[in-house]
Symmetry: C2
Subunit: 366 residues, 2 copies
């Protein structure tokens, strides 16, 4: 689906709901609908918003700093600047466009910004409608082009992993490895890492979100690498855990258990199955072996323009998976004081099962 | 001011306003008040919230993934986990603590989250009070310890710049230089870059927020490097622009003009002067020379735990500067098709003037 088709779909929805326009500020949604690739430094420092009227051409509203980029990247879309801020521009623009009802993204608008928007709209007799996740829902189902882009992202991520994996030796620090990963990503023309790489050794691998530190890699201890990159907008995300030198009996036992849980999850995935059922299938393997309380997070998450997106593969998500969704399958067991093992692959949901996007087999079936 | 004293200050304010507790979720505010250093992957994926009752000990609420880190980093603060999410925990906790009025951060709470919080509070007969920037305002005035930490951050940032500056040669790409900066930062034990380094060559330097690309550095053209790092929580931010080989007459003219504007801004800074007056003093130098419309951003911004914080040195900010504030002074001239020149230093506002934190003199007075 091209950006034009996506915009048309949003416009059709607006007309059905009898709303005159929607303001899209979430950076991935903005990119999905316009091709404009700028990210936000943070939610309080926006790189722009799309104003999509139900029956007129969409506009990209941004500031001076992003003008050149915005004009280059958006096709057939007028770029308007707001030297005095977005609200000042909207105050003139909305009446000019004859807009008397406006939707906004409730999940990417700060409470104080929404309050000001409400005050402005009240003065202009415009009704304001919070929406939640409309574009995110569209984004969960990937078309062929998006699946191919994700496949390329996964492939490049694996190549980066394999390149760096070969160079790892005891005595290097977590930071050394993280830097090697990130510079290899950039040199091979990834846009950016999709998140800060996790490199965690020994008992530090029991912290599921460890930040790489100046800690030396030791032999025979778990070494967890969780990494991803962005290529042409699409994210990859992969975790491998292994040891340098011979693995202990305990390591092998837990590693094999995690892999068994991962395979149980993957085997359950197909269109029509609930996310919770997939989580349950993997979790049962770990619980049955007595490690249930050491697997404290959800089994996986959607991946696309964002590295974490819908659907979550969690025990609380009763929604059915659909063909074209891309999700991670990443069970883990974390033993405080000993370390953690997590294995993560990405799969595309199909009508009759799923397709694993990963080819890397490093330390999977040991 | 220790975290304990800061908490007491917040509690005193709550009692004055007759509010029973405040929920603090903004990551820098959370760190400022507790010492807990986790960052948020994004605003929708919180690493935790502080619940500060007016008359009881504060609590850190987080999830499984951050438990070990939270317990290690916070002193005399109970850590509670929310396996079913923050709101589910608050629903039990608030009545238990006898809280009947709750403040929250309107500027770091999503509209849809605030709506849910409102629904929950209504059911529990708790009044909900949006607040704006209470902790941020405290953070604008740095104490001696914070100024020293910032000084160390600026010093390390300059050392990194100087190390990499010496290695720059024509033919390298923007990405090569950006990677060298970031890996040097990490190896010298910066926590992280304070923002993604900007390395922009030739006409690309006219984009104030250029992302480093696979573009080769050429002789005689402007090369802009805008970089910063985080050391012990505190940010630095510096921009230098220069050319490899001889600079053109035009380059020298514009560079000297930008430097003159920077010095005019710095000379204006002292406690009691408005932010707008400082911006104006620098801007006038550029406008008088006929380049006014090519300086499209504000003169500077506060720096502390966040790389962009209050006060903004902009023509619209009529507030007075106060002693202990730390701000950047960074005028720039951006000529489309030719390139841009920006120079940025950081200063501490003093009663009788300001103290420049930078020592690096590379290509300042040429």
């Amino acid at each position: 689906m091209s950006t034009t088709k996506r915009i048309k779909k949003i416009q059709a929805r607006l007309r059905r709901k009898k709303i005159d326009a929607i303001l899209i500020s979430q950076p991935h949604n903005r990119r999905y609908l316009s091709g404009y690739t700028a990210t936000d430094h943070d939610i309080g420092e926006s790189s722009g918003s799309l104003l999509i009227p139900a029956r007129k051409n969409p506009l990209l509203l941004t500031d001076f700093r992003f003008q050149i980029q915005a004009e280059r990247e958006t096709k057939e879309m007028r770029v308007l600047l707001y030297p005095k801020g977005l609200q000042a521009l909207l105050k003139e623009l909305l009446p000019d466009l004859g807009i008397s009802s406006l939707a906004f993204e409730s999940h990417y608008t700060l409470h104080n910004v929404a309050e000001k928007l409400q005050t402005m709209c009240s003065k202009l007799s415009i009704s304001l409608h919070p929406t939640y996740g409309i574009v995110e829902k569209m984004r969960t189902i990937k078309n062929k082009k998006e699946i191919e882009k994700t496949r390329s992202s996964v492939l490049l991520n694996e190549q980066v992993f394999q390149t760096v994996y070969k160079t790892i030796v005891p005595g290097q620090t977590e930071i050394d490895i993280a830097l090697a990963l990130e510079s290899t990503m950039r040199r091979r023309s990834a846009e950016a890492p999709s998140f800060e790489s996790i490199v965690a050794t020994g008992e530090r691998s029991a912290l599921p979100h460890a930040v790489p530190g100046p800690v030396k890699i030791e032999k025979h201890k778990p070494l967890m690498i969780d990494m991803g990159l962005i290529l042409d907008g699409y994210c990859s995300d992969m975790t491998r855990t292994f040891t340098l030198g011979k693995a202990s009996k305990k390591y092998l036992e837990i590693h094999r258990l995690v892999r068994k849980a991962q395979l149980a999850g993957i085997q359950k995935i197909r269109a029509g199955v609930t996310a919770a059922a997939v989580d349950k299938a993997a979790r049962r393997v770990i619980s049955d072996a007595g490690y249930g309380k050491f697997f404290g997070h959800a089994l996986g998450h959607g991946v696309g323009l964002a590295v974490h997106e819908e659907p979550r593969l969690s025990s609380r998500n009763r929604k059915q998976l659909k063909a074209g969704m891309i999700v991670t399958v990443e069970p883990g067991i974390y033993l405080p004081g000993w370390g953690g093992i997590r294995l993560e692959n990405m799969v595309v949901v199909r009508e009759d099962g799923c397709e694993i996007l990963n080819n890397d087999t490093t330390w999977l079936d040991i």
